[in-house]
């Protein structure tokens, strides 16, 4: 039997996602210099994390599912870090 997430948690995640959308829009209009894009990415990563954990049930899934989800992030980091380490150091 798969784990059933309580409706209350879904609504809480939903409300947090909407709130974080407002926050990311608001933050974008303040000038933090080069930090702006990183703030936007941190908020987006937080939103993605709660979608993965609750809507996509990873929090309640076997370790093997965790491994696959983390593998996706890990390979994305390899892609970004190796590519940008070239362009940023020219």
């Amino acid at each position: 039997m798969s784990h059933v997430v309580p409706q209350k948690i879904y609504l809480l995640v939903f409300a947090t996602l909407l709130l974080m959308t407002l926050v990311t829009v608001d933050v974008a209009f303040y000038n933090f210099g080069w930090l702006n894009i990183y703030l936007a990415l941190v908020i987006a990563t937080f939103k993605a994390t709660i979608v993965v954990m609750y809507f996509m049930h990873v929090k309640f899934s076997p370790r093997l599912t965790w491994l696959f989800a983390i593998a996706g992030i890990f390979w994305m980091i390899i892609l970004m870090v190796l590519m940008l380490s070239d362009y940023m150091t020219r």
């Binding site: 059933v4 879904y10 609750y54 996706g72």
Partner: protein, 214 residues
């Protein structure tokens, strides 16, 4: 038919193992999707790093209100998808189809808003190509931004169209009574796909709409 679908294939120990294998297969596919979108996100990262001023100027041509509204619409559709899966898991089988229809309708609302955004960009000569016009010093690099804008949002929209197809298939099967707490794997893994598409947009929205606003 539903008996056939709920049956455990001979190479699985039980229904639970079969369900976990299907879910894991979907996750393996989603990791390849992360890599697929990783290519364009990588291109974006490099271009944004090389031409930050042009990207800021070009991003300001996009409509933040429409972009934020579409983000909210997709979050709503993710919730209704999650509730469709939950309806199947909790044997509320009559609720599966309404939640799926709501998910599709919200997806279509996203498309209507996107249509008006695209049309507006066409009229403003911001579609890359021979008729591209961008005032100021960053014309060529701004065209690069809009190329990425149309490629990224276009690929995202393509994924949504595939999602509509999957949900229509689920609606047909749900009407035949195929899904219950005992068997709902297709609903579950279509849900995974739809939430993944939502996550792609969660990253696209700030990267395309919100840079250089301050």
């Amino acid at each position: 038919m539903s008996k056939v679908h709920s049956a455990v294939a001979h190479h699985f120990e039980d229904a639970e193992q079969q369900r976990e294998a299907a879910t894991l297969g979907m996750w393996a596919f989603l990791v390849t999707e992360v890599m697929f979108f990783g290519g364009v996100f990588g291109a974006y990262a490099v271009c944004h790093f090389l031409y930050p001023d042009a990207f800021a100027a070009a991003s300001n041509k996009l409509n933040v209100v429409l972009g934020a509204t579409n983000t909210a619409v997709l979050i709503c559709s993710s919730l209704s998808m999650a509730l469709a899966v939950r309806a199947a898991q909790t044997d509320k089988v009559k609720q599966i189809v309404p939640w799926l229809i709501l998910t599709i309708v919200l997806g279509l609302v996203f498309f209507v808003i996107k249509y008006f955004e695209y049309m507006h960009k066409f009229h403003e000569h911001l579609f890359p190509g021979a008729s591209f016009v961008f005032e100021g010093p960053h014309g060529a690099q701004a065209q690069l931004f809009f190329t990425l804008y149309f490629v990224m949002t276009g690929l995202h929209a393509t994924h949504m169209v595939i999602g509509f197809g999957l949900m229509l298939w689920l609606i047909v099967r749900a009407r035949k009574g195929h899904f219950s707490s005992a068997y709902n794997t297709p609903v579950e893994i279509t849900g995974l796909y739809w939430h993944f598409v939502d996550i792609v947009w969660i990253f696209l929205f700030p990267l395309l709409y919100l840079i250089g606003r301050a």
